[in-house]
Amino acid sequence: MKKSDGIIGVILLGVAFFYYYSTRDLPPPSVTEKLGASFFPILLTITLAVLSILLLISSLRARNSSDGKAAIAGGDRLEEDAFAAGEISYPFLFGTMGLSVLYVALLNAIGYIVSTPLFILAMVRLLGLKQWSKGIAISIVLTAVLYLLFGKALGVPLPAGVFTTIWE
């Protein structure tokens, strides 16, 4: 973990520098407004740079005593931030990410009605549902429910894609 902290520290320093670089085009403070558009961003850049260097140093020292112990409440994380430290399956992870990206990318092109069942079917198969019949049933029922709920009841203009002409 400590080695990754060093790499993250370097990346964050890069972010701080890039962010600072982007503040250069901002107009200077005016007479009525002393701080101007760039004061707060520059303050943030400096803070981030200092914190990234702290992270870098603590990772280089690689001491076993984790500074997390000092955090209040015994270093508990916030509710939603917990991360199950079980065995990670990268095919599952990247597969899920990839399918989601593909789904969004195809949404406009082939339309909601076509892309959604394909996405759901691919997802359940990827994550280990064995029976095709069950997967197909879930994908069709779920698409129908979501389409009726959002497209009809809430009146959301869902991307029609290839069916544009038939629809209108």
Binding site: S4, S65, F83, E87, I120, S139
Partner: protein
């Protein structure tokens, strides 16, 4: 004031409000029970629906989801040793032991009843605190708001990460995100890199859905294996009066702890539940039973995590400062309607604030009724298959996020923030602190700059106004204290190693 409560009650008791409230609590129990959907994810998934509702009804429905989820998460904690949300992680210790002894339904009943008590008491505390605090906050000017928001941010980031440095970095990154878009003072675009889509800033709701819900789907998908199924037999016995009486002491403890922890920004149901479990054990007449199936061991954390719900609304309503993910989502729901929580809401929209007070009381009663009726069907909720659930959640996330602005770009924001959230969680950073900072960042910067405009550029406004000064000093102490402590701890360790 009584008149305001009448307004609130007349909103909350409308048939439509009751219907949505009932549905909200049900959705909360369901979402809470399903591993992979926490209370705030269940709330975020409902956000797109709230757009077409009256803000007062949307607000109380989301609170209903929050309340229901706090009970729901204990269902899976007790029945299959997998907390539906981290807030019930402490419940596993004794709840699952009880299930193994064939008393799973008794444990569920205790969780339900003590949770309802915790929730109801915390709403009363909320009403008692939020109204006077909001009256005080009405007199706050920009310097006080600057102090308040910085103090809030300091608490959140110091509580957020596993290490204070990572918590602070998460906060600063959120503040940086908040500067993207049109500068509110000079009108120049900042950090938009020529993109018109970014002029309005990062869409808060898409970012919340990404950081909370999408990242959770990624985390769940990356884990190998199915969830556990119910193994032992399941009766539907409810706790007896005598059993209930043994939990009085730990319920009182849990309720008090939960309410106080809930008010603190950055600390939520998880921390409250663990503190309550430890204190419940310490003050119990039978501490030796803890961990072996003690009813008190269920009552303490479950009354605490439900008591958090009322406490968490105090800073949101009184000051407009969200201290938790759930509060952030409720703020997002109001922003969809062009409203902001805070002291002015008490004056201008009493229907929303007082409607929420009455609605939260009704929601707790709904939770008690639904929880009782759901005890038997629980088994089916718990035994759902993981691939189908994750695919359904993702499909719901995509269509829901799209429907906020009918815009594909929001989907990309949700996916990108989802990946960022996954990485942050994997490397011990805090997406929650980032979201809260993204919301508060706008308030911090505008209150700072507005203060200086009003004082003609004189920084004295921050140290001549006592409340502003006190808040800024508190913020500095909050940030420095953990650093001093960690240096001390490191020094001690070095001495010990010699």
């Amino acid at each position: 004031m009584i008149q305001n409560f009448m307004i609130g009650a007349s909103i909350a008791f409308q048939p439509l409000s009751l219907l949505f409230l009932f549905f909200g609590v049900f959705w909360g129990i369901l979402g809470g029970a399903l591993p992979g959907i926490t209370g705030s994810i269940a709330m975020a998934l409902l956000l797109p629906f709230t757009f077409s509702m009256k803000p007062s009804i949307a607000f109380m429905m989301l609170a209903g989801v929050y309340i229901g989820a706090m009970y729901g998460s204990s269902i899976t904690a007790i029945l299959i040793r997998t907390p539906g949300a981290p807030a019930s992680a402490a419940t596993v210790l004794d709840g699952y032991e009880l299930q193994k002894q064939g008393k799973g339904s008794v444990a569920l009943g205790i969780s339900l009843i003590t949770g309802t008590i915790g929730g109801l008491v915390s709403v009363i505390v909320l009403i008692g605190l939020a109204i006077p605090l909001a009256t005080i906050a009405l007199a706050f000017g920009p310097p006080e708001y600057f102090g308040l928001t910085v103090f809030g941010l300091a608490i959140i980031s110091s509580l957020a990460g596993k290490s204070i440095v990572k918590g602070l970095i998460s906060g600063v990154l959120g503040l940086m995100l908040s500067t993207i878009g049109m500068d509110p003072f000079s009108g120049v675009p900042r950090f938009t890199y020529g993109s018109d889509e970014l002029l309005g800033g990062i869409d808060l709701i898409a970012a919340m859905i990404g950081l909370f819900a999408v990242s959770e789907v990624f985390v769940q998908a990356s884990e190998i294996g199915e969830w556990e199924k119910i193994k032992e037999g399941f009766s539907s016995k409810f706790p007896t009066w005598a059993e209930l009486k043994t939990t009085v002491r730990s319920t009182i403890l849990g309720t008090v702890i939960g309410t106080i922890v809930g008010i603190m920004p950055g600390a939520g149901g998880t921390i409250a539940a663990f503190i309550a479990y430890n204190e419940g054990k310490r003050w119990s007449k039978h501490p030796e039973k803890f961990g072996k199936g003690s009813l008190e061991g269920v009552a303490a954390p479950e009354s605490a995590n439900n008591a958090v719900t009322g406490g968490a609304m105090v800073p949101l309503l009184a000051f407009g400062i969200p201290g938790s993910n759930a509060a952030a989502i409720m703020l997002g729901a109001l922003m969809l309607h062009g409203l902001r929580p805070g002291p002015l809401l008490f004056q201008n929209n009493p229907d929303i604030v007082y409607g929420l007070f009455v609605g939260m009381i009704i929601a707790n009663i709904f939770m008690l009724i639904q929880g009782y009726l759901l005890i038997k069907p629980c088994i089916y909720i718990v035994n759902i298959s993981k691939p189908s659930l994750l695919a359904s959640i993702m499909a719901l996330i995509i269509v829901g996020t799209y429907s906020i602005n009918n815009n594909i770009n929001d989907l990309w924001i949700a996916l990108i923030t989802g990946v960022i959230g996954y990485l942050m969680r994997k490397y011990d950073f805090s997406p929650s602190a980032m979201i809260l900072a993204l919301i508060l960042g706008f308030m911090v910067e505008t209150s700072l700059r507005r203060s200086l405009v009003l004082s003609y550029g004189n920084f004295s406004c921050f140290y001549t106004r006592p409340i502003a000064l006190a808040l800024i000093i508190l913020a500095i102490i909050t940030l420095i204290l953990p650093i001093v402590r960690s240096i001390r701890a490191a020094r001690k360790e070095r001495l010990n190693s010699i």
